[in-house]
Subunit: 120 residues, 2 copies
């Protein structure tokens, strides 16, 4: 994750519909959801609108897609999301662990670190 990629990701996440799509897909799991189902979850958004936002998210690398019959299935790109978090926290840690320690503390109970894999 470099600056340009982070900028794209932040831009993608700064739009209400797209932020909701990402949250929906993250909770939907690795199998993902078809575009139509996502559109209905967004309050019946038009297909062109969904296509636009899903395309933006895919270009930003935050979601991936595959065709399954007539449907196109979208799923969250977990490594990209993790990478964005790492990018943010890496910045925060530049001499000032007090920034991200609260976040790490709050979440280490739900997402405990695994030993021997750290290399930020």
């Amino acid at each position: 994750m470099n600056e340009a990629q982070a900028l794209d990701a932040f831009a993608a996440l700064s739009q209400e519909t797209r932020l909701r799509i990402v949250r929906l897909l993250v909770t939907a799991g690795p199998e993902g959801l078809p575009a139509g189902v996502i559109g209905e979850a967004m309050g019946g958004a038009s297909s062109s609108r969904m296509s636009f936002h899903l395309g933006q998210l895919e270009q930003a690398g935050l979601v991936a897609s595959r065709r399954d019959g007539r449907s196109v299935i979208y799923n969250a790109a977990y490594p990209a999301l993790s990478g964005l978090i790492e990018f943010l926290m890496r910045d925060c840690c530049q001499g000032h662990p007090e920034v991200c320690t609260p976040a790490v503390t709050a979440l280490s109970s739900c997402c405990p670190p695994t030993k021997g894999t750290a290399n930020a």
Copy 2:
């Protein structure tokens, strides 16, 4: 940190100059830096341009300002940054710790969690 605040924060961070300002202020520490110094660090940006971007960041809650003599000193709003990270990770953790575990793992060595304070 709610959705609206996260959207504002992501929008603020999706602009190159502003992302760099935040990174600069995070590394600058709690004392912060005067607007003029930040502007020079941004390659000699005009004062109105700096004022615009710093205002955006302040409105998004990512930085705070105080006047000191003729200068206005800006500093990173560490709790807001931490809150944004928590917001992202909270989403990621909804049934899928594999998303944020890598980030937590990578950073827990630099920003170790403190026991008994977790409440995400």
